[in-house]
């Protein structure tokens, strides 16, 4: 392949990337809906295949798995939501009665005393932090107030997930029809590798996060930290974002401890618990769940997280690793395909 062809190919990839980013920004909700459906379809596809392998029609197999998975989530939400709402409203109450201000002021006093040799006297952190926290609760209330929109989004997502599960093969065939002949086998390989690595990563990280959530909740309950249940839930969700998620869960737990107890007494124990859970996750859970799925260098993952976070916030950070995993497969297969490529006809 000549240098000009390489430059042209690079420019084409950049142009496609720019169009994609622009499109995602323009029709964000629809893209988010499609991505969420695709995500659930990837996670559930092997279970549907397994049931289909038992001689049951694909549509019925999809319906069974779909009902079990989302029905299970609905039941869990039904039974756990009163408990969660109770903890959230209690926490909000604690913070609003001024304990938050007091807690932060205590921290300020402690740090000012420790850092006196640097000339630090008064930090004025309390007003800013209370402002951030009240903004956070306002956002939660805003989300709750747009419940109708969320329900509509969820219903649309459930419908498209079901049809993706049921008709994935036909959709794949339709997509392949648009691929030029010389890239036919490359396209089939790309689709298979994306299906395999992305599916494995998503299923792996889901199981990993669930495990981390359960272990964290149990450990925080053992050390008698208040609101252990919602912090455990937050740890599970934060775990979906590699590298940055676990420290933010540890920080949240320490923050809640300082605010509610007014002292740093529990913080070393909390940090110790999170370090032990992290080590167990790295040594035991992750090798069993997400290893070998998306092999990416840590620097690339962190860069992807930063770009994803900058463009689409938390959602962008969650989709960063799968997106880079998909790009890696496409670039790898295309570069191998282009290296082999010669004009399609020869006289």
């Amino acid at each position: 392949m000549s240098l000009n062809t390489k430059i042209l190919a690079l420019l084409l990839v950049l142009a496609i990337g720019a169009v994609l980013v622009y499109t995602v920004f323009t029709i964000g909700t629809i893209v988010a809906l499609f991505l969420m459906s695709l995500l659930f379809a990837f996670i559930l596809a092997p279970a549907v295949n397994w049931i289909e392998g038992k001689g049951i029609a694909r549509g019925i197999a999809a319906f069974i798995i779909f009902s079990l998975f989302f029905g299970g989530i609905a039941v869990a939400v039904y039974f756990l939501s009163p408990f969660i709402f109770d903890e959230v409203s209690h926490l909000q109450e604690v913070i609003s009665v001024g304990q938050l201000r007091k807690g932060i002021r205590d921290v300020e006093v402690f740090l000012s005393r420790q850092l006196a040799f640097l000339g630090v006297r008064r930090m004025q952190v309390a007003p800013k932090v209370t402002e951030w926290v009240s903004l956070l609760f306002d956002n939660i209330l805003n989300i709750a107030s747009s419940l109708a929109g969320i329900v509509l989004f969820a219903v649309m997502m459930l419908i498209s997930t079901f049809f993706l599960l049921k008709d994935a093969r036909n959709l794949k065939k339709s997509l392949v029809e648009y691929v030029p002949n010389r890239l036919f086998e490359v396209a089939l390989n790309i689709m298979h590798k994306i299906e395999w690595s992305l599916g494995a990563y998503l299923r792996g990280i889901l199981v990993d996060s669930l495990t981390i959530g359960i272990v964290t909740t149990f450990a925080l309950w053992l050390i008698d930290l208040p609101y252990y249940f919602i912090i455990g839930g937050f740890a599970a969700m934060a775990n979906l974002v590699p590298y940055l998620g676990p420290p933010s869960a540890a920080f949240t737990a320490s923050f809640v401890s300082v605010v509610t107890t007014g002292s740093f007494r529990q913080v070393p124990l909390i940090l110790f618990v999170f370090v032990v859970i992290r080590l167990l996750d790295d040594a035991i859970v992750q090798p069993l769940t997400i290893s070998k799925s998306v092999r990416l260098h840590p620097v690339i993952i962190i860069f992807a997280l930063l770009v994803g976070g900058q463009l689409f916030g938390i959602v962008g950070m969650f989709f960063a690793v799968p997106t880079v995993g998909v790009l890696k497969v496409i670039i790898g297969e295309f570069s191998a395909g282009l290296q082999r490529y010669r004009p399609s006809t020869e006289q």
């Binding site: 392998g53 093969r169 086998e185 006809t345």
Partner: protein, 170 residues
Amino acid sequence: MSGSFVWDNFYKKADGADIYALLGRVPIFDTLSKGELKLFEHILHRRVYAKGEFIFREGDTGSAMYIIEDGEVSLEIGKSRQEISHLANGDFFGEIALFADQPRSASALAFEETRIFGFSQHDLLGLLETHPKTGITVVMKLTRIIADRLHRATIENTRLLDTLIVHTAQ
């Protein structure tokens, strides 16, 4: 929904009856029932190649097998592009790629405008996962055909070796 352009195209079946008739004539599928052929049809990708267009080239890493629906395909080897086989409707080629990640041993090009069905190793593995009985029947048939070709190649090799020994002795 019939009569609706959108739905007719969304759920279009590519000349269903013709596909089953064609597949039924291919040795790999000749023992499959119509229901099983229908399952197999799900993994087939229809491609159209112009006259002289390469389907794959010698040395490429292959991953798909092809069945000729309508047209002719020439299998060629070497820089001199010596034709080693000329295939027509119902014939199939590239089956080794389903089992081994080896470079293609020959180039395949359309001798005229040709319609073919292709399916990949991954498609076949998917079929084995969702419909093991049908998948295994196809794999066993393929294995028999490859074993038969290997057997004939071994006999041919032995015959050539004997001829060479006789010529060397003379």
